[in-house]
Subunit: 244 residues, 2 copies
Amino acid sequence: MTYCVAMNLADGLVFVSDSRTNAGIDHIATFRKLFTFGVPGERLIVLQTAGNLATSQSVINLLKQRSADPNLVSLHSVPTLYDATALVAETIREVVARDGAPLAGNTDLTCSFLVGGQIAGSPPDLYSIYPQGNFIQATVDTPFLQLGESKYGKPILDRNLHYATSLEEALRCALVSFDSTIRSNLSVGLPLDLLVYHKDSLILPEGYRVGEDDDYYSDIRKRWASGLQELLGALPAPPTNYNV
Amino acid sequence: MTYCVAMNLADGLVFVSDSRTNAGIDHIATFRKLFTFGVPGERLIVLQTAGNLATSQSVINLLKQRSADPNLVSLHSVPTLYDATALVAETIREVVARDGAPLAGNTDLTCSFLVGGQIAGSPPDLYSIYPQGNFIQATVDTPFLQLGESKYGKPILDRNLHYATSLEEALRCALVSFDSTIRSNLSVGLPLDLLVYHKDSLILPEGYRVGEDDDYYSDIRKRWASGLQELLGALPAPPTNYNV
């Protein structure tokens, strides 16, 4: 399984992905699920993936190969993020059609993508491509999108993330959301790949990989755990009509 | 959908159920999902239900009718909670077999139950019956069991609930778990039915229904929301190597 979150906020974009893949529970590995495309000063496009690893890797490889050829329609040439998302969806369909018969049988070859970024002349934008190939767009009302094991970490985002949230606080909120998911679900695991993009900067940010020994992540995990414990302990006791 | 939690702790048992049922998203209703059986001074058995409402209601009705007949093996006569759970599972199979053909077609008639309580001479006990009819038992290592939309509210239980947690704190933890679930998932809704049983009391507790206007639940929801916001705000900013 997988857990990915992306946010389109007033100040820019935040992306966080885990890196655990599993086929059953005894074939567990680490694969990066966050990929960047772009031209400094002109465009940044970030892809996050979930679902069939063979399909998503092929999609990324084809998108990369084609981006290197200036004669092709590619992520380096499409005029909008909407068109970039449609191109990713088309490439998913192409790979699933190629790999789907006759060998694949009932294997589920589908995958999901988050596509976010900015192309010069337009504001930042963010989409989620479903396994069916259609896609939805993040909005001011719903500024974050998730892939994979999304439920464990959704309450903290529903409660605390808004369009106006600062990038730095949004990143903390995302890290807490990942901590809750990783504690409750074995199929999501470290390291995490994260990337924060400041609106209109049109640079390709370096991003960062959070590993097991990361001091900051360990620190906020501990603070969050002890803070929740204190908060729960400080709630008032139920009244007598609760019959406790 | 449904969300139910039950806990078997050092000091006794805690049960909380929501009451929303839905067939699709446009047929939403309120049905109690927490039921008590028992003989004061001798036994208490609490059932919580999820899944097909027609099946779970039939199971409860048959168990109740049979409990009233002292000549039948029933929840009022079985010697252990283990036997009570096996009897509930057997009754589920009976109803699914009765209602399953020829009219039901592909309708999923299965349901899940949590079965907890205490019978004089044995400690409190707690089981979860799967839709397949087999069942597992809560233990000191894993003292809580959930039914239905369990993921949203699981992190707070994984983090803060232990076998030694007091009944009163466990109830608060359960209410926070329900609040998180209700905020993030429309198919889980108020009122909540809750019941706290003190080990070895062998009384049939009254329980309590938490409605929309419940002052205590509103109060802890507000405190929890503002406490989380403060806690998130108080986390330190990411270091420079995070490239935020």
